[in-house]
């Protein structure tokens, strides 16, 4: 059995589980002997019990749903608008020249600091979270897609022109497809950014969502609940990243695998 694991591809996963077991074991051990104050640090057993209860009672599902819902729309709106703006800038040079410094400036801004504004403008609603999430994704996708549009191989453009392609054909058959790797690259970071944006939105003002749960539990010193939510978020992020990676592999199956 052990031999099989050592030979299989799952070795890293095996070590990860081993690491987590040891980590939680040590944590629990110090709580049990009284070296760690469970009021401040909780304990793995309490956290697991709490997580189990959250799922068993179904209490957690609406919160997960709300957070994912806002993040999903953040990714969709952020990506689409990022691509469209990048495309316009890529084709109209004067616009790019005018707005480039502005965009770089906005990109450098800690967008989370804009959160309170959105709450004021959109109220304690899902819109504020989607907006927060969108703006996080937008810049990531925009800069990547813009680089993609500007890096279309001039040899390929010439080749298409000599074949008799018109401008529209060059865009649909060359420019857009050659940007796909750039866009998918930004998407992996984008999904993380979207969830981050939503969570921060929920910190600032919400009545639901994982971010709200963390905030309210923290407010009453329920460290166990805070940590359960954080673990749930971690698992969620891993699952999302895994799905995006899988989707990327399917979309980019025309590229040699990099290992």
């Amino acid at each position: 059995m052990l031999k099989k694991i050592f030979k299989s591809k799952l070795l890293p996963q095996f070590y990860l589980i081993l690491f987590l077991v040891i980590f939680f074991g040590i944590w629990q051990f110090f709580v049990n002997i009284g070296s760690i104050n469970p009021f401040l640090f909780s304990s793995p057993i309490d956290i697991f019990k709490d997580m189990f209860n959250l799922f068993a009672t179904g209490e957690i599902w609406p919160h997960i749903f709300v957070t994912l819902y806002a993040s999903f729309w953040g990714v969709v709106i952020g990506t689409v608008s990022g691509i469209i703006v990048a495309f316009i800038f890529g084709n109209i040079k004067i616009l790019a020249d005018i707005f480039d410094p502005l965009f770089v400036g906005l990109y450098g801004l800690p967008k989370l600091a804009l959160g309170p504004l959105f709450i004021v403008w959109f109220g304690i609603s899902i819109t504020a979270k989607i907006f927060m999430s969108t703006i996080m994704v937008f810049f990531l996708v925009f800069f990547n897609a813009y680089a993609g549009f500007r890096n279309v191989d001039v040899n390929l453009i010439n080749m298409m022109k000599l074949m008799g392609a018109n401008r529209l054909q060059i865009i649909t058959k060359l420019t857009l497809p050659s940007c796909i790797p750039w866009i998918t690259a930004s998407l992996r970071a984008g999904v993380g950014a979207a969830v981050l944006g939503t969570i921060v939105g929920e910190y600032l003002g919400a009545v639901q969502g994982l971010g709200w749960m963390v905030m309210t539990a923290g407010g009453v010193y329920n460290i166990t609940r805070v940590l359960s939510c954080i673990f749930i978020l971690m698992i969620l992020m891993s699952l999302l990243d895994f799905s995006v990676k899988k989707a990327e592999a399917i979309i980019l199956k025309w590229r040699p695998a990099v290992d």
Binding site: D153, N155, N158, M159, G164, P177, W254, R255, P256
Partner: protein, 278 residues
Amino acid sequence: MNENLAEKAVKLSLQNISHSYTDTSGQSMEAINNISLNIKDGEFVAIVGSSGCGKSTLLNIMCGILEPSQGSVLLDGHALKNAKSKIGYISQMDTLLPWRRVIKNVALGLEIEGKSKKERLQIAKELIETSGLSGFEDKYPFELSGGMRKRVIIIRALAQNPDVIFMDEPFGPLDIFTKTMLQQEILKIWSEHKNTIIYITHDIAEAIVLADRIILLSYRPATIKAEYKVELPRPRIIEECKYNPYFLELEKEIWDTIKEDVKIAQQEEFYNNAKKNI
């Protein structure tokens, strides 16, 4: 073939082409100086010059990618923009679209022309079969070897049935065996389709075994330094041509003529590199 070439119509005509461009340091560089050249219908012309002499610039002007500073290019007596003849272009770059499978890459030109899906895929399929690429229709370019990719690029150009094919050192980075095989294939295609081929290379031997006529360019600014008719009988077998005494004689003659220019080219390159490193 060679005998009746004299009576054929002029296909492509370069009239007093000069070209200069501004380099990165703002200096005006003269790349081409007053080149005039007539290429006949069905002729295989090789343009030979040392690296950096401006032969790719000349080719880009010939096929219309680049507008010359002076002079004009006529295809069938018309300016390039209004010419009806179709042109094919095979560069030294790998210009396959990596996200398209082989068959869709071959069909690209036909797709641009607006041919129906059924028709273009059928033409592509036939070309793939005749070029020995059967079984690779649904592969992506990255799954093919360098030689196979070049072959796909060649049949992609042929799919549009071009009257004139421009080739810019098409087999540069390939190994000698693949290169020889592909050169032989080019000769076969040319004898079957009777296209006009303009072939850029720095490889004198390659130029001799392929072409009817060799145009030798001087180092920058490029001018026509010499012209040679290649009298090797056709059909030619590449490996055998190279042992023909006539081949060796011509190769030496061309080499002797171009030697000085190669020297200048190398000195200049050395100088430029040294300047970069300072």
